[in-house]
Amino acid sequence: MAEKKERYEVILAGSGGQGLVLSGIMLAEAAILEGKNAVQTVSYGTYVRGGFSMAGVIIDSEEIIFQEVENADVVLALTEETMEMYEPLAKEGATVVYDTTLIKERTGKGLFGHPFTDMANKMGNVGMVNIIALGYMAKKNGIVDTESLAEVIKRRFSGKTREANLKALEAGIALAV
């Protein structure tokens, strides 16, 4: 796992209904469990599902003054549209993670494609895409400890949902090892 930095700026982008806002919340909650400050912002259109949806997360050991992501360290793109928006950030040093089930594959520095949606489908629940991706990003970039994400899942879910989410998290972590 990468060495943990004092500050992370993360963008989670896709379309409404992909669970990106919840992913942002879980990432921020994991950081708070580690004693960090965290802010999460959202940007969305008037549609509930299908339209552009984006969550921004900043994690910092110091006070977070300006609330919006200005220099993303890590980006997750789950639609072709958002991939086209954020792919250029890879050239500036960001890690851009994307879903090869939904987005055509690219090569280049800082671009990391994995079939998150296929994996989620094989696990029996397409709704787990965001958790697999979170596990992968946390392990790969050290944004938060994967144990903190597991703790957030345990607090938020119970029973079969908890088990399914923890399994998805593990699958994402395994991709990054």
Partner: protein, 375 residues
């Protein structure tokens, strides 16, 4: 690894603050970007013995909270621009009847239904002057999730203490922002209850102020039978059209706030004491302004921020003091016309170097846009 901080959304923190302050009646009509406040109240009010009422529109919502307040409950509603417009008539009644209540206006981009999911700070003048007649009220504006909580408690305290409607005016950014916050325990923040009459019910005059400028307010349904009217009324609440009475009545609505001006007008400063470049901001733009000021400090420019926590009554004295010292004053706000910049100009005069950074397309103001105005 455990900490008591938790992630909370601005709108949720407003609902939490309301419960903390003792609010037990919510009536509203959900509207983006304020709906989470209604959602939270619909879940939680029944659990604390309170009432959540889903109304047919915002006119009725405002009427319902006025009625509930007169029956003794701390009551509030939440809305955004289009709904806030509908509330104005009854809001005027609350001012005239001196009915304690809290109205949250999570500001979104207009005009009219505008950009429903996007932020603005363009209701500043509507909050102050949106209803007819020579009325006045209090408006508070949070910039953080922690302030969403604490200022909601303050809003209820002001409403109860001064028998006046209090508007809480976050923008969509702050309403939807999530950040870590530590919610104070019971007793950590002061919670004020309205003054009750103590004399004989027959001699109760609901509009005769004590020395503090505020009259005790009995609750409907009790021993004190009284009348509240939107028309000009005397100390006992009944119609009175005498010029002398109107002079007293209108004056009283203003005087009770003027008397407590220093308590009501809240500001915060960040590196403002020696600031040659002073940013004046409120709500979300406070955060971008603080980031810009810190960047300028790094470049050797003495920059600071005056945050208007209380929007109305306007912080004339604080603006005059800090703005008078600065070489350049920059007002950052999410509207076209410079609603706060106009007030700053009124206070500092036309000779001052007052610059504006405005955004009115639903996009937030970023620090780099603010820096451009100074360079």
């Amino acid at each position: 690894m455990r900490s008591e901080a938790k992630l909370m959304q601005g709108n949720q923190a407003i609902a939490e603050g309301a419960f903390y302050a003792g609010a037990r009646f919510y009536a509203g009509y959900p509207i983006t970007p304020s709906s989470e406040i209604a959602e939270e109240c619909s879940k939680r009010m029944p659990l604390v013995g309170g009432v959540y009422m889903q109304m047919e529109d915002e006119i009725a919502s405002m009427g319902a909270i006025i009625g509930a307040s007169l029956a003794g409950a701390k009551s509030f509603t939440a809305t955004s621009g289009p709904g806030f417009s509908l509330m104005q008539e009854n809001l005027g009644l609350a001012v005239m009847g001196e009915v304690p209540c809290v109205v949250v206006d999570v500001q979104r981009a207009g005009p009219s239904t505008g950009l429903a999911t996007k932020p603005a700070q363009a209701d500043v003048m509507q909050i102050r002057w949106g209803r007819h007649g020579d009325q006045t009220l209090i408006a508070l504006c949070p910039a953080t999730v922690a302030e969403c909580f604490s200022l909601t408690v303050t809003a209820f305290n002001f409403a109860e203490k001064f028998r006046v409607p209090v508007i809480i005016a976050p923008d969509e950014v702050v309403g939807h922002l999530r950040e870590n916050v530590i919610i104070p325990g019971p007793g950590e923040l002061e919670v004020i209850e309205r003054k009750q009459p103590s004399g004989a019910p027959a001699s109760y005059k609901p509009f005769t102020a004590d020395a503090d400028g505020v009259a005790p307010l009995a609750a409907y349904g009790g021993d004190y039978v009284f009348h509240v009217s939107s028309s000009m009324h005397g100390p006992e609440g009944y119609s009175n059209n005498e010029p002398a009475n109107a002079t007293w009545r209108v004056g009283q609505l203003h005087r009770k706030l003027e008397m407590h001006r220093d308590e009501i007008v809240i500001t915060k400063t960040f590196d403002a004491d020696d600031a040659e470049v002073l940013f004046i901001a409120f709500g979300a733009t406070t955060r971008a302004s603080r980031a810009a000021a810190l960047e300028l400090r790094k470049q050797g420019v003495k920059a600071g921020v005056l945050q208007l926590v209380t929007l109305w009554p306007f912080a004339d004295r604080e603006v005059a003091k800090l703005g008078g010292r600065a070489k350049t004053v920059v007002v950052t706000e999410m509207n076209y016309s410079g609603q706060v910049a106009g007030e700053v100009r009124r206070v500092l005069g036309s000779g001052a170097d007052i610059r504006q950074v405005n955004s009115y397309n639903g996009q937030i103001i970023r620090p780099r846009a603010i820096l451009k105005a100074v360079q």
